[in-house]
């Protein structure tokens, strides 16, 4: 009994001590792109009448595997802390992935292992949610059906280097087998220190404890880049990545 009390007391004190010391450092920056951005090919949706109808009267949809913003920054880059986070951080939140217009939204996103992924089907056609990698899962969903799935394992399978493409250790591919052009990537992490660049090409990771870290940027076509940095308590650090083609 005494032992248990001792352990409890130590852990309670430890917890308060830790939260008192918690640093809220931030690392942020921009992902730049140099060179001419290739225009994505037009997606041919002829096999599904619903998808064809959806884009009627609009510009034909294009592959969004490489989207360069107007300020020559790169969209959909997954930036995360690779090494340096000491504690596993658990989370019970939910993350939503939508299927609309025969495309995934968002295309690249992250989540913490243990969180629940909600896959919505906003289309009036059948999709199937096919998650590859460690958390292998495949399920079809008719129009309007929602799939809920707890993603348990962090990381992806160890993948070999592909021609010109560096695979990340954390990204898993999501695809729809009914519509083979539909692709999304999810980074399943052990901690919540990640960010995805949007239309401004900016990323920001906050609430970091002080320490030494590696920061990794991943892009589905251009591969990974790594930088090391260290932050003190409540520091704000700016780091930039530059991809080129």
């Amino acid at each position: 009994m005494k032992e248990i009390r001792k352990i409890m007391a130590i852990s309670v004190i430890g917890f308060f001590a830790f939260s008192g010391l918690t640093s809220a450092a931030t690392v942020k920056g921009k992902v730049l792109f140099q060179g001419t951005a290739p225009k994505g090919k037009i997606i041919q949706m002829d096999q599904d009448e619903y998808c064809l109808e959806y884009y009627k009267g609009q510009d034909p949809p294009r592959f969004a595997s490489m989207v360069v913003n107007e300020n020559s920054t790169l969209q959909s880059v997954f930036v995360y802390i690779g090494k340096g986070v000491k504690n596993k951080i658990k989370s019970k939140q939910t993350v939503t992935l939508d299927q609309k217009g025969c495309a995934y939204a968002p295309r690249v996103f992250g989540m913490v292992a243990g969180e629940t992924l909600i896959v919505k089907n906003g289309d009036k056609t059948k999709h199937n949610f096919h998650l590859l990698g460690k958390n292998k899962y495949n399920r079809s969903a008719n129009a309007g059906k929602t799939i809920k799935r707890t993603i348990k394992k962090a990381g992806s399978l160890k993948l070999k280097k592909k021609k010109g493409k560096l695979k990340s250790r954390v990204m898993s591919k999501i695809k729809c087998d009914v519509h083979p052009w539909m692709v999304a990537y999810v980074g399943v992490m052990k901690h919540p220190f990640f960010s995805v660049t949007g239309e401004d090409g900016l990323f920001e990771i906050s609430d970091l404890p002080e320490g030494k870290y590696t920061l990794i940027a991943w892009h589905e076509k251009l591969g990974t880049q790594t930088q090391e940095f260290s932050v003190g308590k409540n520091d704000v650090k700016t780091i930039g990545f530059t991809y080129s083609k």
Binding site: D48, K162, K163, M182
Partner: protein, 251 residues
């Protein structure tokens, strides 16, 4: 895509310019032969059941077997059935089979069809008539064939997904491949059905004699999305086909 000329109770239209007609004839002959045979056999059976039904004043008969009669009948039936079978297989079917499998015209237009779960990818060789090199490492959702763009023959290759256009009255040879599991290339209006096996390239050919919009479907259960695995199949005059191909190559 609306399909042309489908009847609600009989065969799909047959637009094949060659063996498709023979296949239909075969089906029709088999249907008639088995139908007449069936009517005769079931008719005799019904006749016997009614004619020799139970009556209070009728006594049951006991017949000894007739060895001569039975042996003759057995031999006759065996000879007739086997002979008919050999005649049909050897004299009629083999010729048709040969035509379908080994007699693709040499001037046929070549296209490549790659089946995957659950879509049809089609590649046209372009003006040079040659397919560019492919590499499995390059395969992804944007490049289903894994075409190596550094190859000069690959420059004018046209890839479509879920849509085949072919010119009317031109023989077309399909190099059929599969990326993952066994699929089956089935165009009902051409009476053509050929399995696509992973790791194999299988030649199929056809010639359409009427224009219209039809479907290519998968005829081998290949997974969850098998029912949605179809592609538009459009037969059109040569000029329209060429302008369509031009348009696709610019995309």
């Amino acid at each position: 895509m609306k399909e042309n000329g489908y009847s609600s109770w009989w065969f799909p239209p047959n637009i094949s310019a060659n063996y498709g007609q023979t296949l239909d004839q075969g089906t029709v002959i088999i249907t008639w032969v088995t139908m007449i045979g069936g009517i005769v056999v079931i008719g005799l059976m019904l006749f016997a059941v009614i004619r020799y039904r139970y009556r209070p004043d009728r006594k049951a008969l006991y017949l000894h077997g007739n060895f001569k009669f039975e042996t003759t009948m057995l031999v006759l039936v065996t000879v007739f059935t086997l002979g008919g079978e050999f005649f049909v297989l050897g004299e009629i079917s083999e010729g048709v089979w040969d035509k379908i499998k080994y007699q693709a015209p040499e001037d046929a237009m070549e296209i490549e069809v790659l089946a995957e779960q659950f879509a049809w990818n089609i590649r046209y060789p372009g003006d040079d008539g040659q397919f560019g090199e492919t590499d499995n490492e390059l395969v992804d959702e944007e490049n289903p064939f894994g075409i190596d763009e550094d190859d000069s023959a690959a420059e004018d290759d046209v890839v479509t997904r879920g849509l085949i256009h072919v010119p009317v009255n031109v023989p077309v040879k399909v190099k059929l491949r599969s990326k993952d599991v066994i699929h089956s290339f089935f165009i009902p209006v051409l009476r053509i059905k050929q399995d696509a096996l992973p790791g194999e390239t299988i030649d199929v050919w056809f010639q359409a004699k009427e224009t219209g919009e039809y479907h290519l479907v998968c005829a081998e259960l290949c997974g969850l999305g098998h029912t949605t695995m179809k592609a538009g199949f459009v037969v059109e005059p040569l000029e329209e086909f060429q302008s369509w191909l031009e348009e696709k190559s610019e995309e």
